[in-house]
């Protein structure tokens, strides 16, 4: 399952951060999730609640999710548009020469820790 794979990496990355910065407890993790990253957020939170127990520093942490809206750039008329609404085809000029500029990512924005 895709969500579980991401969680495993997230936990590993946070474990490393905790070691580097001598943290004993992470209280919250804020994750920015792109609208078209393919991550199912409900499933993601469930996976997290299950998996965090395996890591001492993470076991009491809360996962906070923020959505990053997806934006596509049209190279023909040089404008941005909303990806989720219009997909691959530019709503201004009908061109298909478009690419995603934002919305596919999954970034750890910040953590609260001690």
């Amino acid at each position: 399952m895709h969500e579980m794979g991401i969680i495993i990496h997230l936990a590993k990355t946070l474990d490393q951060t905790a070691q580097e910065q001598n943290l004993t407890k992470i209280g919250s993790v804020t994750l920015q999730v792109g609208e078209v990253s393919g991550i199912v957020t409900d499933l993601f939170v469930e996976c997290w609640d299950y998996f965090k127990k395996k890591h001492e520093v993470l076991k009491d942490s809360v996962l906070k999710l923020e959505t990053i809206p997806a934006v596509t750039w049209c190279n023909n008329c040089k404008t941005n548009y909303e990806t989720v609404k219009y997909g691959k085809t530019c709503p201004h000029c009908g061109s298909g020469e478009t690419w995603l500029v934002k919305g596919n990512e999954c970034v750890i924005k910040e953590i609260e820790a001690e």
Binding site: H2, G5, K25, V107
Partner: protein, 218 residues
């Protein structure tokens, strides 16, 4: 509690593992080739053909599968070293799993090492495995619209093999349309229409692999 800004990729730990594996492969002079495609597109058949054709190149194969060992057994029967990696339900290989498989296969003096990734067009594209060449396969029966539906893998691959070309007349697969859709996503990608069954186009693909190996060792 204090707030610590990270702005790190969730897969930051994977990216580090991948970088480490790449430098190790560079030292050893082994080119690690990540093969991605959906299930049944012809990965094992293509690799079998490459192994039989390239007698002067030492090849090893890491077979990632959710279950079973049939692919690895088949590759070994052709005389190449192979290892089966069970991903225990995971939909992709990551760099840590790949590094462990590279360690476990214990193959010496290898030139090309292939990683047959899990059959799936989405997840494998999102993880750096530590490979230095990413090849994706799209088979004719899957259809020419796949670049529109799964753009990420097409945009991250160095080469695209269009497989099962011998079946072209049975399907409505527009090769030119497919090529232009792929090039729109990734202008630098190399495209090889082949049939592992008839051998059509295999020569160009094998030459490409050899050229990549030479560049990697330069």
């Amino acid at each position: 509690m204090r707030t610590i800004k990270l702005n790190a990729s969730v897969t930051a730990s994977n990216d580090l593992d991948a970088q480490a594996l790449r430098s190790r492969m560079k030292e050893k002079g082994v080119l690690l080739v990540n093969i991605m495609s959906s299930a049944g597109s012809g990965k094992t058949t293509l690799l079998s053909k490459v192994i039989t054709d390239l007698k002067d190149t030492k090849i090893a194969v890491l077979e990632a599968d959710i279950e079973s060992c049939v692919d690895a057994e088949h590759i070994e029967s052709l005389g190449a070293k192979a290892i089966q990696v069970h991903t225990s339900g995971m939909c992709h290989m990551d760099a840590g799993m790949t590094a462990a498989a590279v360690e476990a296969i214990k193959a010496d003096n290898v030139d090309l090492m292939f990683l047959e990734n899990v059959g799936n067009l989405i997840c494998p594209a999102e993880y750096d495995t530590g490979s230095s060449l990413n090849v994706m396969i799209l088979s004719v029966p899957e259809g020419d619209d796949k670049p529109l539906k799964y753009p990420l893998m097409f945009s991250k691959s160095d080469a695209l093999v269009i497989s099962k070309m011998d079946t072209l007349s049975y399907f409505t697969f527009d090769l030119d349309k497919c090529v232009s859709r792929v090039k729109a996503l990734n202008p630098d990608i190399k495209i090889f229409p082949v049939s592992a069954k008839t051998g059509e186009g295999m020569d160009e693909f094998e030459k490409y692999l050899k050229a990549c190996l030479k560049d990697w060792r330069a």
